[in-house]
């Protein structure tokens, strides 16, 4: 099968999202491995930096444009992308498994009578087949899946695949294709941003706190370290349920799935539901006074000590090397 890949990009506030560059890089890699081709599309009212896709190897980006797309519109985006895929004859659609990617990928798959594999942490090309590896059962097992359909829709877990600048300074050709009759079944009327902070789902470094912090007020220790590292603050469910932290910060099965390059777990035991959300992080550091806590089973580096003593010292050391 010769792959004809459509990299489906995402914008927010008219700028491409970082996860979209990961999608382009993977599309470029698969196109070259399979001797196929790829192009990129993005549904938007306008995109300021679409040409930047060129640095990651995209020759062409088509903006599927409609004024109503200034605010996210899943039904509209899904239809616009599916229509474009049909017209262009794409047989593989790659998206990022973001909130938007998850929302639209199944709808696109239904429209194209395609098979779908979501949340891949690896995607290989073997003997003419695409094989996705995805975590299942809260990360306790991995599933390898293939699709038998002619058209395939695949989403990639954000932050797992590398965004590679292959042609520094290159610009993609940006085309615009007006979407005349968008499906506006659902419309976002407002986006309520959580207070100014970096979100765990998008952060490259996360410092998370658990019940070991003892009370809400002590989270300043976690925040200070996060500030020093330029990191987002995360939390276990125990502290979210206790009302110490907002639910948006919760990492784990009932919270967010994250894959940062560094995850620092402070006073978190490492229950399976917590691990489900963070075990694909590249490096994990655990600080927990119980040396037998399960978090040490997944951690790369650990300090089996008291968060109240270790965290201030760690923050000070980070500040020292950063200055």
């Amino acid at each position: 099968m010769s792959l004809k890949i459509l990299a489906v990009l995402e914008q927010r506030d008219s700028k491409l999202k970082k996860s979209s560059f990961e999608v382009i890089s993977k599309a470029a890699e698969l196109a070259s491995l399979s001797g196929g081709s790829f192009e990129a599309v993005v549904a938007a009212s306008s995109v300021e930096d679409a040409a930047k896709a060129g640095e990651y190897g995209a020759a062409k980006v088509t903006v599927l444009s409609n004024a109503a797309f200034a605010l996210p519109c899943s039904s509209g985006y899904a239809k616009a992308v599916a229509d474009y895929a049909k017209a262009s004859g794409a047989n593989v659609l790659l998206l990022s498994n973001t909130a938007m990617g998850k929302d639209i990928a199944p709808r696109i798959a239904v429209k194209l009578d395609a098979g779908i594999m979501v949340d891949a942490v690896a995607l290989g090309y073997e003997g003419g087949d695409l094989i996705a590896t995805r975590p299942v059962f809260a990360g306790k097992a991995l599933q390898e899946v293939k699709l038998t359909s002619e058209v395939k829709v695949i989403t990639l877990r954000p932050n797992v695949f590398k965004a590679k600048v292959s042609s520094p300074g290159a610009s993609a050709e940006v085309l615009s294709s007006a979407v005349d009759s968008p499906d506006l079944k659902e419309r976002v009327t407002e986006i309520k941003k959580s207070e100014g902070k970096l979100d765990v789902a998008e952060a490259d470094i996360i410092v998370s706190g658990g019940r070991g912090l003892k009370e809400a007020g002590n989270f300043n220790l976690v925040e200070d370290l996060a500030d020093a590292l330029g990191a987002a603050v995360g939390a276990s469910r125990a502290v979210v349920d206790a009302g110490w932290r907002p639910h948006g910060e919760q990492v784990g099965q009932t919270g967010k799935t994250v894959s940062p390059s560094l995850y620092v777990a402070c006073g978190i035991s490492g229950a399976i539901q917590h691990l489900a959300g963070m075990s694909s992080s590249k490096y994990i550091v655990a600080i927990n006074k119980d040396k037998d806590a399960p978090i040490f089973q997944v951690a790369d580096y650990g300090i089996a000590g008291d968060v109240f003593e270790v965290l201030p010292a760690l923050t000070a050391e980070i500040k020292k090397i950063k200055s």
Partner: protein, 248 residues
């Protein structure tokens, strides 16, 4: 109001997962199954809507005979009747969505509630796919829902905040934690549930496009190094993060 809730029957999260010899499934021995936790939020929301507006709540589950336990749990919480769509073995989410959509259509349900994901295969596909097949509006990862007449105003969780989404009936909603606090079935509910009907039929599945080549355990990560027991280990930790891991 005619409300449908789709529920799945999944291994308890605390279950230790062992892979069966054929590498296609998990070893079933010793695994206890539960009502998918997100589906509890879906049921609760359906019951609240019924309490406010009247109507019927039908619970639909596709699976084997044992999925009836999960349907009973939903009935014990207060749903009116159940439907078991019988399936055998591995089914992919879109072909399953097709069967659920058929049943929803035949019930004429205008409000469909599901969970944001099934905690077995963690797909997060079924709700969106069913909505698309039905031609209904859809709001996923929903943490707040208001239905007024045919108008739907929902909030969904996204990276860095929430979106306020407007749509209208008919609609499929996928529930996230935070939408409500699911009730526990009372003894009375559990007794009543035994008498509530569960219809059984074969699932009208769509084409299956997914092939499961292999299920495996993640390669055991080498347990991490415990560098020390107090702040004297901090300089070494920072050195490792800079020089070995190169992440800061």
């Amino acid at each position: 109001m005619n409300i449908a809730v789709c529920v799945s029957h999944v291994p308890d999260t605390t279950t230790k997962i062992r892979i069966a010899a054929d590498k296609q499934n998990i070893e079933q021995q010793g695994v206890s199954y539960i009502l998918n936790p997100y589906d509890e939020f879906a049921i609760e929301e359906a019951l609240k809507l019924k309490e406010k507006n009247g109507g019927e709540v039908v619970v639909i589950s596709a699976g084997g005979e044992t999925s009836k336990e999960t349907i009973r749990k939903a009935l014990a919480m207060g749903a009116d009747r159940g439907v078991l769509l019988k399936t055998n073995g591995f089914v992919d989410s879109i072909s399953l969505a097709k069967a659920l959509a058929e049943e929803i259509k035949s019930n004429g349900s205008e409000i469909v509630l599901m969970g944001k994901q099934s905690i077995d295969y963690d797909n997060s596909i079924t709700a969106q796919a069913a909505a698309e097949i039905l031609g209904y509006g859809c709001v996923t990862v929903c943490v707040d829902l208001k239905i007024d007449g045919t108008k739907v105003i929902a909030e969904r969780e996204i990276e860095g905040g929430r979106e306020v989404v407007e749509t209208s009936l008919p609609v499929v909603i996928s529930a996230q934690k935070g939408l409500n606090n699911p009730r526990y079935p009372a003894i009375k509910g559990i007794m009543e549930a035994k008498r509530k009907p569960i219809a059984e039929k074969d699932a009208a599945l769509g084409k299956v496009h997914t092939v499961l080549s292999e299920l495996k355990l993640p390669s055991a990560k080498n347990p991490g190094r415990i560098i020390g027991t107090d702040s004297s280990a901090v300089p070494e930790l920072v050195r490792l993060l800079r020089e070995e891991a190169k992440v800061i």
